[in-house]
């Protein structure tokens, strides 16, 4: 019993099985989270080591290098970069994708454990830090306030951050730029000196006064009382009245030597949201949590929380990554619907009958829902890749059903009962259907084998198409015959009505087309070599187009976000930096109506620590913009970014700036990166500067910048060790003393309403403003004497060397550039040419990194994939036709599909990137299918005794419709993908363009070229046979 006869004989079983599949699919779909891309965990692990007091160069030699040397043996390590800056060594290890990072972390810990004792004594235990996708912010919120501003951070912490943190999946809610309460004790050093006291002593006294202590229990009669001593400050003003010493028998109070201010901490960062003062909140997700779900929950909760906040606090959304995801996914779902409608129309057009169309179209939902089941049970998400895979599959899943139904109809028309026509009609084409499915699977299954980033991406595509196509074949062999046996009936009576009349008109037109094609074939067969010559020249001519088509890595999408980093002259104080920030804000407010929200941070976050941007300082400005939706503006995000660049370039005080649009979210950092390796700072700097200059001149580069920052001016206190020893001082006490006076000493904490605030003692601002203020700092020595700093140390002005970056254990720096209006490939070629013109000093090597490297890796993978697909398709066909030459003839369609892809890209101005490349690979499976239909039927006719030329013409005439039909279903399913301009369309568009171009062109060519080559091959065989015959006859005659 075969599957189709079982299905026909047990229609109810068949029906309920497929209903069950659909129900499962719908269930999976309802429960499936939505995301932009398949989940990709960035394979990065960092090791941070803090060595207080060491300079960048010391860190490099003593910490970074030994660590690097030992860490380089960790398995699966791809790249290792490091940064040595003052106090901190940060090593980042990049692994191959899909490395087990837990194992890698353990290995790293082992290595660190082994070499820890060879590292300097003073280092802190190295921290191993696993970077995860969870670190990428899901949302950035802003909060602005007027009168509530001083307490903003505290209010938000209690009423906003705590509830948000309770949402499942929210990892961390970070707060940036909020004011913090601090109790400052600003000492007048002269007065303190007069009482012969030091800051440290003052701090000690305050700490000792601010104490609550349980003092045991006392029993009074029948009651047991716990006893408690309460010395803690109840009010910050009480600090004023604390006695610190006595002078001539009179008590000396804190207020006599210092000013106590209950105020806000001095800020290193200034946050403005749309020009108003406020702070930024960043919501991060837990690893593996779903962005869209979290954002939804956060938004829901925000609505309620906002009602409870003081009315002057305004909460805004700077960006919400889920918005772009939701929009582009819903756009893609719309595209899927359109594709479905187009496919239905094509089938109806060619078949001309409602019932038959219904039976064929039914295979679409049945097979597509299995993709949802697969996605759900493998824990995947509904994302751009899975949805575009469905669009690709959409046009192909109907093919098998069409072939089966056609044959069943043929049997019915010959006079068999519907039941038997269904069984035997399916039986006759069953093998052919399975074979054609195998060729498609041969293309898509290898996609599940690619490794690396591309693998993470296209594995889903491979599986989804393989599964849906397989299921569609199963449905075509069971559901289609079953439904045909139930629904189709033979009607010899002439059909009347509007439907049949239009279908008759269409039928006439198509018959005309059949005849026309048959005539063309007749001409082609008569002019074989001409056809071959023209086709081959078209193919080779198209190869010249490659020179005009740019290459890129991943299409960038307009997600309505721009961020700008600006550097002013190093060392500029925050107040000055903010002035420039205000000026920029003003320009944007006036001239850029497209920009909906502006978030400006001037300065640097003191809490960002080792994760912060190493180049951030009081002279840097970070701006984040949210634009209105793409439909509501005439300029796209890149045009706006470029206009902003022009605005920035007129500010004389701006040293460098980078304007970034955050497209698909791939390849962190600048798209163009040239790495320059070399030990010597000066030569590498000079070379990099020269290269940067040349790169700026190249068309399409923007914001060319060096990764190595400029040197920073710095004041250094250089102690004279001998003198210091004479005074009984050591480095530790002296450096601490200086720090306590300038940076401040946190003496104790003031407690109020369950919160603690730092009590910080330091010199009043007017006593730490000049060279001599610092020189006159007094340090208490063990003998109880006050010694001035200038007596044992001098202050010198220095330029501190930059941070030392290393990659794979070599010093390097990168020259980075953004792109605008030109493809990555072309710009890279130009840079390459520019470098070749330059004289490369000895000891310097260079390498391209960034997206160009990602692209090269990806293209290498894809070329391999392409070759593998072609090979597998050949294997499937060779076994199907039991011939070596037949598959070759059939696969002649493939090169022309590439011609089509090139043409389409050239015409549409698109670039060859990973997505369009995948489109080209998919084409191998699709175009071969057309060719098979044609050649298979020609073979059949030859087998039935027709001459080759007649067979070719007849096959062409009778197979034109199925070929056009399957081509058009695939083609039209892709059209919405290619022409959509909706949000996020930039990402999937190249695939649509590539497939449409390739498929339509190769179909046109193969309809003529393949039959012609078939006749040539046939003629060759006949000639061979004749030769053999002649020889035999000659032998006989002799």
């Amino acid at each position: 019993m075969s599957i189709y006869s079982t299905a026909v004989k047990r229609p109810i079983t068949t029906l309920v099985i497929f209903i069950a599949v659909i129900v499962m699919g719908v269930f999976s779909l309802r429960n499936m989270p939505v995301d932009l891309y398949p989940e990709i965990d960035p394979p990065f692990i960092s090791v941070f080591t803090i060595y207080p007091g060491a300079s960048a160069a010391d860190i490099e030699t003593n910490v970074t290098r030994p660590l690097e040397d030992n860490l380089s043996i960790v398995t699966n390590l791809k790249n290792m970069t490091s940064q040595s800056r003052d106090d901190i060594s940060a090593i980042t290890m990049e692994f191959e994708y899909e490395t087990n990072l837990d194992e890698a972390t353990n290995e790293i810990r082992d290595v660190i454990g082994r070499i820890l004792r060879f590292l300097p004594e003073g280092i802190e235990q190295p921290t191993v830090f696993k970077f995860s996708s969870a670190m990428i912010p899901v949302m950035m919120l802003s909060a602005t306030a007027d009168e509530s501003y001083p307490a903003l951070a505290k209010i938000l912490d209690e009423r906003l951050i705590n509830p948000l943190n309770r949402i499942e999946g929210v990892g961390a809610v970070g707060i940036f730029g909020g004011p913090e309460r601090e109790i400052q004790i600003n000492v007048d050093p002269r007065k303190l000196e007069a009482y012969n006291m030091s800051v440290e002593q003052l701090g000690g006294i305050l700490a000792a006064e601010n104490i609550n202590l349980p003092s045991g229990n006392v029993k009074f009669g029948s009651v047991d009382y716990p006893l408690r001593f309460t010395g803690e400050f109840t009010e910050s003003s009480r600090i004023n009245d604390i006695v610190i010493t006595s002078f001539n028998g009179n008590p000396v109070y804190v207020r006599d030597v210092a000013e106590v201010n209950d105020t806000l901490r001095e800020m290193t960062i200034e946050e403005r949201i749309n020009g108003r003062q406020g702070l930024r909140l960043i919501v991060q997700k837990q690893s593996g949590a779903n962005t869209v779900q979290i954002a939804n929950e956060v938004n829901k909760m925000l609505e309620e929380i906002i009602k409870t906040l003081p009315p002057d606090i305004v909460i805004g959304v700077v960006f919400d990554t889920s918005e772009f995801i939701n929009n582009s996914i819903s756009n893609l779902i719309n595209i899927l619907y359109y594709a479905g409608i187009f496919v239905t129309l094509v089938v109806l057009f060619f078949i001309g009958r409602w019932r038959a169309t219904f039976i064929i179209i039914l295979t679409i939902p049945v097979s597509l829902v299995t993709a949802f089941i697969y996605l759900y049970f493998t824990g995947n998400t509904l994302n751009l890749i899975s949805l575009s895979s469905l669009t690709i599959a959409m046009g192909m899943v109907v093919d098998d059903a069409i072939v089966v139904l056609e044959n069943i109809t043929r049997h019915i028309e010959k006079g068999s009962s519907a039941r038997e026509s269904a069984i035997y009609g399916t039986n006759e084409v069953g093998l052919a259907v399975v074979a054609s499915t195998l060729t498609v699977v041969a293309v898509f299954l290898p996609m599940t084998l690619i490794s690396g980033l591309m693998g993470l991406f296209f594995r889903q595509l491979g599986w989804i198409v393989t599964i849906t196509i397989t299921v569609s074949t199963i449905a075509a062999l069971s559901l289609t015959p079953m439904l045909s046996s139930q629904l189709l009936k033979f009607s010899s009576a002439k059909r009347t009505g509007l439907g049949p009349k239009t279908s008759a008109i269409i039928d006439n037109a198509l018959s005309g087309l059949d005849r026309f094609y048959s005539n063309i074939l007749g001409w082609g067969v008569g002019n074989k070599w001409k056809v071959v010559f023209i086709s081959v020249s078209i193919f080779f001519a198209s190869l010249f187009l490659t020179g005009y088509i740019g290459t890129g890595f991943f299409p960038e999408a307009d997600n309505s976000r721009i961020s700008i980093n600006i550097e002013l002259p190093t060392g500029l104080r925050l107040e000055e930096t903010s002035k420039t920030a205000r000026a920029i804000e003003k320009i944007i407010e006036n001239d850029y109506p497209e920009i909906e929200a502006i978030n400006t941070s001037s300065g640097y976050s003191s809490t960002a620590g080792i994760f912060g941007n190493p180049r951030a300082g009081s002279h840097t400005i970070d701006l984040t913009f949210r634009l209105v939706a793409p439909k509501q503006r005439s300029r796209d995000v890149w045009e706006i970014a470029d206009a902003l660049r022009e605005e920035l370039s007129v500010f004389p005080e701006i040293v460098t700036y980078t304007v970034q649009t955050e497209g698909g979210g791939f390849g962190a950092g600048a798209p163009v990166q040239v790495e320059i390796y070399g030990d010597d700072f000066n030569t590498t700097n000079a070379f990099a500067e020269e290269l940067a200059l040349k790169m700026r001149a190249i068309e399409g580069t923007r914001d060319v910048d060096l990764s190595r920052g400029p040197e920073k001016p710095e004041l250094r206190i250089v102690p004279d060790q001998e003198k210091m020893a004479m005074f009984g001082l050591n480095t530790n006490t002296v450096s601490r003393a200086i720090r306590n006076r300038i940076e401040g000493m946190t003496a104790t904490r003031f407690r109020e309403d369950g919160d603690e605030y730092d009590v910080v003692i330091r010199h009043k601002e007017e006593f730490r403003n000049t060279f001599s203020d610092i020189e006159n700092i007094q340090v208490l020595n063990p003998m109880g004497q006050m010694v001035r700093l200038k007596e044992f140390a001098s202050i010198e002005e220095f330029y501190s060397p930059p941070n030392i970056e290393r990659k794979n254990r070599m010093r390097y720096l990168t020259v980075n550039s953004q792109l605008h209006g030109r493809s990555l490939g072309n710009v890279t070629t130009d840079i390459q040419a520019a470098i070749e013109e330059m004289e490369i000093p000895p000891g310097i090597t260079y390498r391209f990194a960034g997206e160009i490297q990602e692209q090269q890796d990806a293209f290498a993978d894809l070329v391999l994939l392409l070759l593998l697909s072609i090979f597998l398709v050949y294997v499937v066909m060779a076994s199907q036709f039991e011939s070596f030459s037949m598959p070759f003839i059939i696969m002649l369609a493939v090169p022309f599909s590439f011609t089509g892809v090139l043409l389409a890209l050239f015409i549409s101005g698109g670039e060859l990137n990973v997505i369009s490349f995948i489109g080209a690979i998919i084409l191998v499976g699709i175009v071969v299918k057309n060719s098979i239909v044609l050649v298979d039927y020609t073979n059949l006719l030859v087998g039935r005794g027709k001459s080759i030329v007649t067979a070719v013409r007849m096959a062409g005439k009778s197979r034109l419709r199925p070929v056009l039909m399957t081509t058009l279903t695939t083609l039209l399913a892709m059209i919405p993908l290619a022409v959509s301009t909706a949000e996020g369309s930039e990402i999937w568009q190249p695939m649509g363009v590539a497939v449409i171009g390739g498929l339509s062109f190769s179909t046109l060519i193969t309809l003529v070229f393949v039959p012609v080559v078939y006749t040539l091959n046939g003629a060759r065989k006949i000639k061979k046979a004749r030769k053999r015959n002649r020889k035999a006859l000659l032998l006989q005659a002799q």
Binding site: K414, S416, I423, Y424, G425
Partner: protein
Amino acid sequence: MKAVFIVYNQALTERVSEMLDKLNARGFSQWQDVKGRGTHKGEPHMGTHTWPAMNSAVLSVVDESLAQKILDGVSKLNETAEMQGIRAFTWHIEQTV
């Protein structure tokens, strides 16, 4: 007694069985997946890629009157589904056990 041998495109199996049932021809032997082709016209039924269709065959030994009815039925069937192909042959039965 006559033997009636009917070869037909297997897509007609149900119709042939139906006909035999209607005529009360109870006894028969059937072969499935029989290959063959006609002398004059029609597609060969070979079960190959070139000629994918297959035949079935029925041998029924019946009274002479019934044999004629069966032949009539077959020719009627042939008229409605000429393209599918059905043929019937009869001969005498000399002895039965």
